[in-house]
């Protein structure tokens, strides 16, 4: 246990130092992240202002929603495919496979976290400017902000496992990016990134509740904004834990198959 902690600490230090080197790039990556939510925010605000509200959502509700979504999305997103897909395709991942620890659950995980930490640090400045520009009224409470911490941790676990499982497909095919784009595009409709799920047709909403995408985005956002009744909160935490376990099993299954596949190619 102690040894494991030391390993994680070291991986953190290495990845943090590496990220810190590229802090200027961070601003560019942020621009990517920001544009889509701001476009949707502008579109929905315009609509809400013309007709007073959209299914009960006022312009302020949209501003509060999207400006909460931005930090939550950065906190729960996973960039495993950007870190590993090329390494797998070029075979340079073998260096990491030599190490006596699971490369994705140590190095890649810490890379994700270091990237996030620095990105959030840069983002805070941008966020303050955006709050000043859109002037939303947030409905956070101390309790909702406390509960959102485990919700974000579990949300990240889920998105990390989905993204990492997709990345592993790179062991079989070079078209892994197409698969990822496809899942991301339709995931963004079902997660609440595109629009609050409450505005979706009921059929889509029920599909979204069955799938794990909303657990890493919509759930933490609504939780932070204190818009969920207690039984919904309990249910979603339960779903998060169940999905995390299920996706963990899927990930480990694909991982074992992928390793066999890889040694077969390399031999």
């Amino acid at each position: 246990m102690q040894a494991m902690l030391t390993i994680y600490k070291r991986f953190w230090q290495v990845n943090w130092a590496e990220q810190w080197q590229y802090r200027a790039n961070m601003i560019m990556y942020l621009a990517y992240w920001l544009v889509a939510p701001i476009v949707y925010l502008a579109v929905w605000t315009t609509i809400a202002n013309t007709q007073g509200s959209v299914h009960g959502f006022t312009a302020n509700d949209f501003a509060a929603y999207y400006l909460t979504l931005l930090p939550v999305d950065i906190a729960t997103t996973s960039i495993t495919i950007h870190i590993l897909a090329n390494k797998i395709q070029e075979g340079t991942i073998s260096n990491e496979l030599m190490q006596p620890v699971h490369p994705i659950l140590t190095n890649t995980l810490m890379y994700n976290l270091a990237f996030k930490a620095l990105q959030l640090a840069v983002f805070i400045v941008v966020w303050i400017v955006l709050v000043f520009l859109f002037k939303p009224v947030f409905t956070f409470t101390p309790l909702s902000l406390a509960l959102v911490v485990p919700a974000i941790a579990l949300g990240f676990t889920i998105r990390f496992l989905i993204d990492s499982s997709i990345t592993l497909v790179a062991f079989w095919t070079t078209r892994v990016w197409a698969i990822e784009q496809f899942v991301n595009a339709f995931g963004s409709l079902l997660s609440g990134q595109f629009v609050p799920l409450a505005l979706m047709p009921l059929a889509v909403q029920s599909v979204a509740h069955v799938l794990p995408f909303s657990l890493g985005v919509s759930f933490p956002v609504l939780l932070a904004l204190n818009q969920l009744p207690p039984e919904q909160i309990a249910l979603n935490f339960g779903l998060q834990i169940a999905w995390a376990i299920a996706l963990g099993a899927v990930f480990m299954f694909i991982w074992r198959r992928a390793l066999k596949q890889f040694s077969a190619v390399g031999a």
Partner: protein, 262 residues
């Protein structure tokens, strides 16, 4: 025409490259179809909740999406692939060979890589414009409107291209500036909706700094006959001015180029 001959040769090489990876081409076309589905689902959700966005109805937005696709395809087909090549050229010094060739260097840097399959997306763009206009019950546009639409779309493309030329030229001064176009790529998505819905600060950025709105919203306004002749003239003049300026920046930049190893 010497330059047309070169362009023809480049075109041929790129078609051959594409044919070498036929399955990839097919996958790319399937992907672009599913992006279209994604965009249409997005619009369906928005228009399930309202019948207009800042005065733009479903048909108008659909047509705008078509114009956006034309411009965005131009970027994906020519501009972004050549940026990648250019930045690698600067880093590894292979740009030397481009300058040694007896063809205009800006031309070679801009058009040596053409991702042909994207032509398919141009077609979808045109179809979206036609269907969009049909849905919006717009009067069939007159010859004047169609002509100014075509001219403005072209000049919009030229303006976006010129901004790109300035951005990559900056690499001659700041060698480590290899995420030169990231901000531009990120802002492209704003072209999916009329610039008039954005808050003033964003509208200023997408009109004057990274002029995507000039290439998408403005041509469509012309097609719908909303622009006076002098507004069209100013927009066209802006294209000529911006292009000339970008040309000056490129020439000044190339004078500073000294190769990667020296």
């Amino acid at each position: 025409m010497h330059i047309l001959k070169v362009l023809g040769a480049l075109f041929k090489i790129n078609v051959q490259q594409e044919l070498a990876y036929r399955v990839d081409t097919l996958v790319n076309i399937l992907m672009s179809m599913s992006w279209l589905a994604y965009e249409l689902i997005g619009l369906a959700i928005i228009f399930g909740a309202t019948n207009n966005i800042g005065g733009w109805r479903y048909g108008d937005i659909l047509a705008l999406l078509g114009v956006f696709r034309l411009i965005n395809t131009f970027m994906m087909m020519i501009v972004w692939p050549n940026t990648e090549k250019f930045n690698r050229g600067i880093r590894e010094g292979t740009l030397d060979y481009t300058f040694l060739q007896p063809v205009n260097s800006q031309f070679m840097v801009s058009f040596s890589r053409i991702v042909i399959w994207n032509a398919w997306n141009m077609l979808i763009g045109v179809v979206l414009i036609v269907i969009g206009l049909f849905f919006s019950n717009a009067a069939v546009p007159g010859i004047g409107s169609i002509a100014s639409f075509l001219l403005l779309t072209f000049s919009g493309g030229v303006i976006v291209y010129s901004v790109w030329v300035v951005l990559i030229s900056l690499t001659f001064w700041f060698t480590k500036f290899d995420n030169n176009v990231t901000l531009m790529q990120a802002l492209m998505d704003t072209g999916r909706f009329p610039a008039t819905v954005y808050p003033a600060w964003l509208r200023i950025i997408v009109t004057f700094i990274v002029p995507i709105a000039v290439a998408t919203t403005v041509p469509l306004q012309a097609l719908r006959g909303e622009l006076t002749w002098w507004q069209v003239a100013v927009a066209l003049l802006a294209g000529v001015v911006v292009f000339s300026l970008s040309r000056l920046v490129w020439v000044a930049g190339t004078r500073r180029y000294s190769g990667a190893s020296s």
